[in-house]
Each structure stands twice: as structure tokens, then as C-alpha cells.
Symmetry: C2
Subunit: 201 residues, 2 copies
DNA sequence: TTTCTTATGTTAACTAAGTTAACATTAATG
DNA sequence: CATTAATGTTAACTTAGTTAACATAAGAAA
């Protein structure tokens, strides 16, 4: 009978997994529900993925790739160094706000362990590389002294932390961005604050 | 017979819950296991807590309180405004690193919804108040103009975001603090970076 | 073509967890 | 002392992750 064998179950599963994840997050994604929604037996996903972690890994890889692409495209279009850092931060937060579940998946503890999924590790490394290159103006890395390189690295970490913190606090609802302002502008404002300056208040 | 009725099951449960949470995080905390470890029936916890969320809420409340205390004690001991912000950030990250699971519990999405646990909401609000007061020098709030207040608020958000980002990235293993440096100094260094300054590299 | 093998799908079962209902016992209170 | 509220217990229901055993389809090998 012709109801066996869908033709492309793996991709359909991945697609539906994306949908469920977007709506309910990693915890809400249940393999059994996924299978039912796909119209396939509850054990079928195990033929295509290494259990739940396997599916999450696949989704996370795709998410990392999209994330890296978006950062890259911003970095490539801003020549000025400081401006690039700021815009990158805004893009970082932008991705998080537009794809909160994916963002949580790739950074949170629901993410399958990197050392069990080499492709996932590669995707993660690549995303961080994009970030670092953009922040550190790596083109000139060869010319740097060790001290300079350390300074540059610290700048990268500082920039990254700030963007990450804003992203987290916003998607977790702890910070509510003002409604009368573009999200990007709000983020740029926060990134530009210099806490070492006296408060003049 | 005398094996019924422990005497103080609620507190024992809470205590064990703390232990399990510290070791395995919110997801690893299973009510059934908790009950077994406490030597009590698997349904007993439901007599004392409103299900799993109820226990998590109770633990989260305690965590918020400790968090707030630690921040408060730092803030109270540093008079200088800019220095206080920095030290507060370091303390913020310090708490996260020493109590990663608790930190995740109070900020992550495993935290029971604030609107279902009023005491939890109060604990959270209080912690943020401590933070804001310390960052904003609220003693003089009355004297501020609206613009000044907005500026001060933004400074608070910026400081908070940075500390939060560092905390998250460190406890998630994305940033590995240098081994040859005190964690506090490392954090202070990151907080002090001013990304608006030219990179001079 | 026929046969063997591999990929892919199915059913059925096992384990563990959250939760609730129905029942038992204790402690406290009138 | 009798009643009641609090606190435990057992047993059951539901959902989920996972695996084993079996079935079928497709393609390679004979």
C-alpha cells in the first residue's frame, strides 16, 4: 500500500521542528508530537535523527548559520571600526529579538553538547569568528603586538557581553524597550553608554 | 505506627530541592526523585507545594533574596558612584559564577511565571530595586529633571546589561576567564571598556 | 528477473516524570 | 471523646524519550 514512505520525511520533520521550536521553545518540542504532526509513526524520527538532541542539534546548526550570516552582512557594510562594533551589537540583539527561541537554543543549556555534534561545534565556532573578526579588525592581526592583541580581544569580549546581556534581558522580558523608539536605536544608545565617565547627575 | 509524618517534610523537601538544583539545575530536579530522596511518598510534595513550579518558585524566592543581599552589601560599602557601579557589576557576575544554577533559575525561562507567584514577583522587584538604587544614586531622584532621570535610567540599564551578559557568557562557558587573574578584576576590566573610544590599534 | 541488503517505516513495550483522586492516619480542636 | 483539617499514602492517568522486533520498499548483485 502506498501510505508507507513519505519520500522526504527527514526534511519535513526538520521543517515542523522549526515551527514548533519557534512557538514553544526547545522544551516544548516533543518528538512524539512532532511525529504526529508530520503524520508519521512516533518512532520514525529516530531513523533520521539521533534522538531529541539530534534534532535540536540540526536546528541549532541552521540557526547558527543564519545568525552568522546576518552578523557578517552587517560587518561587511560598515567600514568604520567603532561604528561597526555598535551596528554589530544592534544586529546581535536584533536577531535575538526576532528569533528568541533560536537564540536561546544556541546559547542556552538546552543546546546539545558541542562535543557530541562536531558540525554544531563548527557552526558555533564560525559564528564567533565572524563576531571576533568584525570587532577586532583582524585584517591587521599580524601587525599587532601581544599586548595590542590582548587589548583587542578584551574589546571584543566587552562588546559581545554587552550585546548578549541586552539581548538576554530583553527576550526574557526584564528590560522592556521603549515603544516610541526603534529597537536598534535603543540598543545603540545602551551600547554607547560609557560607565567610566562621571555621571554628572 | 511511627513512620508516618516526618515532622518537617516541607523544609526537608526545600533543602533537598536546593541540593538537587545546585547539582543539576531546574530541569534535573524531579519531584519524584526529590520525594524518594527525602524518604517520603511520591505524592507528598504536592501537599506542601503547588507542583513543580511551586517548589521552583520557593527556591527562586530564596535565591533572589540572597542575590539582593549580596548586591546590597556591596553597594552600601562603596560611596563613589562610578566605582560602585563597577563593583556592583563584579558582584553580580560573582553571584552568577558561584551559583550558576540559581542564577539561571531566577533569570531563565524555567522560572515560574511571576504573575502566578506574587511573592516571587516581590522578590524579583526588590532585587532590581537594589540594583537600580545603587546605580542611579536614587537618594537624589527627587531633584532630577525628567531628562536627567531618563539618562540615569539608561546608565542603569547599560550597567546591568553588561554585567548580565558577562555573567551569562561565563556560566555558559562561552567566555573562559583567564586563570591567572582574579575573576573580579577580569570583570572590572570588561566593564571599564569604553567602546565609543577609538581603538588606537 | 530474482535475490539479497539496506534504508526506512511500523507497532509495542519500557522507563521516567508530572499530576490527581481516593483513601488513611495523625494532630488538633470542639 | 468525636470531629475535622492537615498531612501521608497508594494507585492510577497522561505524556514523553527511547529501544527492540518486525515489515516493507528500493536498489544492487546475481
Amino acid at each position: 500500500m502506498g501510505k508507507y514512505h513519505h519520500g522526504d520525511v527527514r526534511n519535513v520533520l526538520l521543517q515542523k521542528a522549526e515551527t514548533i521550536l519557534t512557538e514553544e521553545g526547545p522544551t516544548g518540542l516533543s518528538l512524539r508530537r512532532l511525529a504526529r504532526m508530520t503524520g508519521v509513526s512516533e518512532a520514525a524520527p529516530y531513523r533520521h535523527f539521533d534522538g531529541k538532541d539530534g534534532i535540536l542539534a540540526a536546528v541549532a546548526i541552521a540557526a547558527f548559520e543564519r545568525f552568522a550570516e546576518q552578523l557578517e552582512s552587517v560587518a561587511a557594510n560598515v567600514a568604520h571600526h567603532e561604528e561597526r562594533i555598535m551596528k554589530l551589537g544592534a544586529a546581535y540583539v536584533g536577531f535575538a529579538v526576532e528569533n528568541p527561541q533560536h537564540f536561546r537554543l544556541i546559547f542556552g543549556r538546552e543546546r546539545p553538547p558541542l562535543d557530541q555534534y562536531p558540525e554544531l561545534r563548527d557552526a558555533a565556532d564560525n559564528a564567533f569568528d565572524v563576531l571576533q573578526r568584525a570587532v577586532t579588525s583582524v585584517d591587521r592581526k599580524a601587525e599587532m603586538t601581544l599586548t595590542e592583541a590582548a587589548t583587542a580581544y578584551n574589546r571584543a569580549l566587552a562588546a559581545w557581553s554587552r550585546a548578549h546581556g541586552i539581548a538576554m534581558l530583553v527576550i526574557d522580558g526584564m528590560i522592556v524597550p521603549p515603544a516610541d523608539q526603534e529597537l536598534g536605536d535603543f540598543v545603540l544608545g545602551l551600547l554607547a553608554e560609557d560607565l567610566t565617565a562621571p555621571s554628572d547627575l
